[in-house]
């Protein structure tokens, strides 16, 4: 057997790959579920916080800023571990899936709030004044005039951040979520062969590479006009 054959036999073992393909596929489903939940809830919560911040209620804004700073400073893995291993002591025992979802959604909420807020503040005051003087209320101005312009500005930084945080679903494996990495790791220890790990790696590329390539296109389409 040549070195190359041995390499293929070890890292791309067809028999092992075929056996664990269903596991990896089910891991992909879990990863997709987690990712969709995180993106939807994280972005929505971030937008709501940014809109609340626009109301300019002092104590509320301090609270928002503190929460945002908190989730920007803490490593996502620390938040996951804190929720998963810490909360049971308080009588709530979230599953690994829920812990990972909540943690990464909080992180995305914090980052997207900052981006949405920066977008809102970047709209010149004149826009506010003009639309208020036409008789639109504060809420109408915010939703119909400011937000559409602000959102356009936020799209490139938001896509980058969303991808980076969504990749974090792999962290779920630390708290026994059966997503791709979790499935691949247990398959490696069951088969004593690294092929499932290679499959897992390929699965991540299949899921995320199209998104990254699309984000490049989005970046140029919505690029800042300098």
């Amino acid at each position: 057997m040549t070195t190359w054959d041995r390499f293929v036999e070890t890292f791309f073992n067809a028999k092992v790959m075929l056996k664990y393909l269903p596991d990896i596929l089910s891991g992909m489903v879990v990863t997709i579920e987690l990712a969709v939940l995180i993106v939807l809830s994280g972005l929505l919560a971030g937008l709501v916080l940014a809109l609340l911040r626009a109301l300019a209620i002092r104590p509320l804004n301090w609270l928002i800023i503190f929460v945002v700073d908190l989730f920007r400073s803490l490593p996502p893995l620390v938040i996951i571990v804190l929720i998963y291993f810490g909360l049971p002591a308080a009588g709530v025992s979230p599953s690994g899936f829920v812990s990972t979802w909540l943690s990464l959604a909080f992180v995305l909420m914090a980052f997207s709030e900052e981006i949405f807020w920066a977008g809102i503040t970047s709209i010149p005051k004149g826009q506010w004044e003009a639309s208020r003087s036409t008789g639109l209320s504060f809420g109408q101005t915010l939703i119909n005039v400011v937000l559409p312009q602000a959102l356009r500005l936020t799209i490139p930084p938001l896509t980058n951040r969303t991808i980076a945080i969504t990749k974090g679903t792999a962290l779920g494996t630390v708290v026994a979520v059966t997503e791709i990495l979790g499935q691949a790791s247990s398959a490696v220890s069951n088969s004593y062969n690294p092929s499932p790990l290679m499959m897992g790696a390929a699965a991540y590329l299949v899921l995320f590479l199209p998104v990254v390539v699309a984000s490049r296109w989005i970046e140029t389409k919505f690029a800042w006009k300098r």
Partner: protein, 221 residues
Amino acid sequence: MIETFFNPEIIAAIWPIVLAGLLNTILLSLIVVPLGLFGGLILALLATVHHPLVRWPLMAWVDFFRAFPPLVLLVLLFAGLPFAGLELGGFACVAIAFFLNTGAYYGEILRAGIDSVPAGQVEAGRSTGLGRLQAMTYIVLPQAVRNVLPDLMSNTLEVVKLTSLGSVVAVPELLFQARQAQSLTYNATPIVLAAIIYFLLLWPLVRLLSRLENRALAGRR
């Protein structure tokens, strides 16, 4: 509640363990940040070669690491390489994974910085007799770094946070030590303590960044 989450007796008992973790996290950051910057600099300099044979592989390289979760990369090195007869240990795996992963991110940022310096700067520098490398080192790079400083800092924050992944491959950094302490004491206090330390350590940087980002976005219109 205080008993389980912020127990003073437990803090006193496990403080040395957590402190050792904090020192290792700082040490690890001091190693992986320059390593990532170095990797990024190589990529950014390569990107100045506007040849399709360099450009496309480079883009594929960067996109690959943007799509690939750093933890998967780390596990691949840590659990996969031994099958090829190469046992590297947790620390070396972290260093390699960070060099590759954060290098790609730093590379994108530095490339944008270099692009932001007008071509006239290089031409002027070259016409005074500076070589290509000299013009890059003394004229382009200082301006490039200045232009993308907030992005570089923001990425550095992410890199420091990412060192917590070391806990998965038994590198005794802050999170790893806290989890050890937690399993010794059956109490959540060590993890809460670690979280507080991370927050105190990184919060000033977050505050600074948030100011810089707001100003940058507002100024770009």
